[in-house]
């Protein structure tokens, strides 16, 4: 157990610290890299809880795909952090007010945290037995009980894709596109003309290069 505890504290401490660094780092690229570190440690915490499938998906989706694109964009941007900070100071009072209100609400809620008496029975998904891996358990739920939500989420993502294309794709009329079929099906006779050239006469006009 002691090993797990040590791991837990290492992972969570690094996660929190890198979370802080995300907003504290001066360089936006460093911020993104710290964000990635935070994701990674969160994945470690998932592993400690025995949710290995979620851990791997977190790494694959967030670290492997989303954050790469994020980093990609941030690297290309020329962000002046001093300028951003000046804005932050101006909006600090209002931001702080909203934050404090939310914090107070959370505290109030946790103080008055009373579950409805029937919560135990109402819990939607009872834990599967130990013999079922959590990958299988997730699949069992996702494709039966939550199939509707799963499909709806799929359509939402489809809309996001259509939207990105609709709002940004512009067809440029004068771009030359490679037509691989044409390229590959070209015959030797269509492109090469073998000409016997007599010495001192050169290529005749009619056979010349068109």
């Amino acid at each position: 157990m002691i090993v797990q505890a040590i791991c837990f504290y290492i992972f969570s401490a690094i996660a929190v610290a890198s979370g802080v660094m995300v907003i504290a780092a001066r360089n936006p690229v460093h911020s993104v890299l710290f964000l990635i570190l935070a994701f990674f440690n969160a994945a470690g915490l998932f592993v400690l809880m025995g949710a290995e499938f979620l851990a791997m998906i977190l790494v694959i989706v967030y670290v492997g795909a989303v954050a790469v694109l994020f980093l990609f964009v941030v690297m290309m941007l020329d962000i002046d952090f001093a300028q951003l900070r000046s804005g932050a100071v101006r909006y600090l009072p209002i931001g702080a007010t909203v934050g404090i209100i939310l914090a107070v609400e959370l505290v109030l809620m946790f103080a008055a945290w009373v579950f409805a008496p029937e919560v135990g029975q109402a819990l939607a998904a009872p834990m599967p037995g130990a013999h079922v891996t959590n990958t299988a358990a997730l699949g069992d739920l996702l494709y039966t009980k939550y199939v509707y939500a799963f499909q709806a989420a799929g359509i939402i993502l489809l809309i996001a894709m259509i939207g990105a294309i609709v709002l940004t794709l512009r067809h440029k009329p004068d771009v030359r596109r490679q037509k691989i079929g044409v390229q590959v099906s070209r015959r030797r006779t269509e492109t090469i003309a073998l000409v016997k050239v007599k010495a001192r006469e050169g290529i005749g006009e009619e056979e010349g290069v068109r």
């Binding site: 009373v114 579950f115 135990g120 819990l123 359509i155 809309i159 259509i162 939207g163 609709v166």
Partner: protein, 486 residues
């Protein structure tokens, strides 16, 4: 390995049909190429919507719960879905010619409208907070995109961005509320929630806070005060057919969902949420009446008008009983036709091939285009709630419901704000009939057969509703009875 049995998909047939048809049309559009496909896909989408109306109509009013309890169809959902589908179909018809003229004709537009409509139907049929949220997001995401569909126009892009940012905020609030409800009640299913909350003496504070956040999210979607800030800008900036769409289908769907959530799982907490709805309704009615007075742009005016109308519809919800729900549904049905008709006129306001949106541009319309002036006059009187137009009956039913449940103050405020708002509606009629024609001359003549047809249908329905109100009233009656089986 055994395969899980299929859930009963028949109940969700219209939604599945719409989603699949949208994808098929998307493929068709992609393979046909940009220029040719837009018009074809648009008309096919209208056909799809009409087919979906028949599919919904073919469902009997029996309550079906399927897809692991997340999806419900009953008499209520049938009525609301038909309204939404009619609204979407009309908006699509209005959009075709406009998009071509404005050079924003692309086949993705009808596809997005179809997907958005799918989301609306899913909202109406939601029987679980998760399904509610997903339907809402499906609808909203497509709406954000169509709002900025005229992507080369700064106004349209601004409208889309504003709508997106504020919409995301509202979704966040709603999710927060949903998570609170889940935390304190232990379930997201409407049936389970209703069963558990029914047995409780006093609800926990966390649950009430969760419901309030849920109401905030819903109020944003129907643009009720104080969550209306986006409405005028988005209405003004978005392309006009999109505005027409925004003002009917999503409003009806969100309102229908609002009613279902409030009187379904949280019916036992009527006392807690009624005060919130009461305040929102009053604020919306007052703002809708006062803020519209100074507007010069007709689309902005319609934005404030729709805020006010949502306030009236909320009166029915505040009543919280079958009569109130019936009032809301009748209101939505009539509101649908009034708004579609008005926007058909606004879409025809073109001078020299360009859109004009000023209210002054309508001056003297009775002399240049008497038929259009007559139609717009009917819609304005109806929006103002002057008998014998349909709008009067809409208000009558919700006020009756309010008085029936002892919400006399609400009814009185409603009547007073209707009188105030009549000022700006009637002013348009005055402009059209008693002022000299506007400087630019008459509007362009050729407004299109399909726009004329929509205009005609809408004005006939609004004008002669009082002669034969039975189908709408009876339908609404049956629909509201489905929510109150007891």
């Amino acid at each position: 390995m055994p395969i899980a049995p299929l859930p009963n998909l028949l109940a969700a047939l219209p939604e599945i049909f719409l989603a699949v048809a949208a994808m098929a049309l998307l493929i068709l559009g992609v393979f046909q190429g940009e220029a040719r496909a837009a018009k074809e896909v648009s008309w096919l989408s209208v056909v799809v919507l009409v087919v979906a109306i028949f599919m919904v109509g073919a469902q009997n009013g029996v309550r079906h719960v399927t897809l692991a309890g997340m999806f419900i169809t009953d008499g209520y959902s049938i009525f609301a879905k038909i309204l939404v589908l009619i609204g979407s179909a009309f908006s699509l018809i209005l959009s075709i010619r406009y998009n071509e003229r404005e050079n924003i004709s692309r086949f993705e537009f009808p596809v997005l409208v179809l997907l958005s409509t799918t989301g609306m139907l899913m909202m109406i049929s939601a029987n679980d907070l998760l399904a509610l949220y997903l339907g809402l997001e499906l609808q909203s995401l497509a709406l954000y995109i169509v709002a900025s569909f005229d992507r080369d126009s700064a106004r349209s892009s601004e409208a889309g961005l504003k709508y997106f940012v504020l919409g995301a905020l509202a979704s966040g609030m709603m999710l927060f509320g949903i998570s609170m409800i889940y935390g304190f009640a232990g379930s997201t299913g409407f049936d389970t929630l209703a069963a558990h909350l029914g047995g409780q003496a006093t609800p926990s504070a966390g649950l009430v806070v969760g419901i309030v956040f849920l109401i905030v999210g819903m109020a944003f979607k129907i643009s009720a005060v104080p969550f209306h800030m986006w409405t005028p800008d988005v209405y003004e900036g978005a392309p006009t057919p999109v505005t027409a769409f925004f003002s009917v289908a999503p409003k009806i769907a969100a309102m229908a969902l609002f009613v279902r959530v409030m009187v379904g799982p949280f019916h036992t907490l009527l006392f807690e949420w009624r005060q919130v709805i009461w305040a929102i309704a009053v604020a919306s009615m007052i703002l809708g009446a006062l803020a519209a007075i100074n507007q010069r742009n007709i689309k902005r005016l319609m934005a404030y008008s729709s805020i006010g109308h949502m306030g009236y519809a909320l009166i029915g919800l505040a009543a919280g009983n079958a009569i109130g729900v019936r009032g809301v549904l009748i209101y939505l049905a009539i509101y649908l036709f009034m708004n579609v008709g008005t926007f058909a006129v606004i879409l025809s306001m073109r001078r020299g091939g360009k859109m004009v949106e000023g209210i002054e541009d309508l001056a003297g319309l009775s002399r240049t285009q008497p038929a259009m002036a007559l139609a717009l006059g009917i819609f304005m009187f109806s929006l103002a709630g002057i008998p014998p137009m349909a709008g009067f009956f809409a208000k009558l039913y919700v006020f009756m419901a309010a008085i029936d449940s002892g919400l006399n103050v609400l009814a009185v405020i409603g009547v007073v704000t209707s009188v105030v708002s009549a000022y700006y509606y009637v002013r348009i009629v005055k402009l059209m009939y008693f002022d000299e024609p506007a400087a630019g001359g008459a509007f362009d003549r050729h407004i299109g057969v399909e726009v004329n047809a929509v205009l005609m249908v809408a004005s006939i329905i609004i004008m002669f509703f009082f002669l034969y109100p039975a189908p709408v009233v009876a339908g609404a009656e049956a629909a509201s009875a489905a929510l109150f089986p007891g």
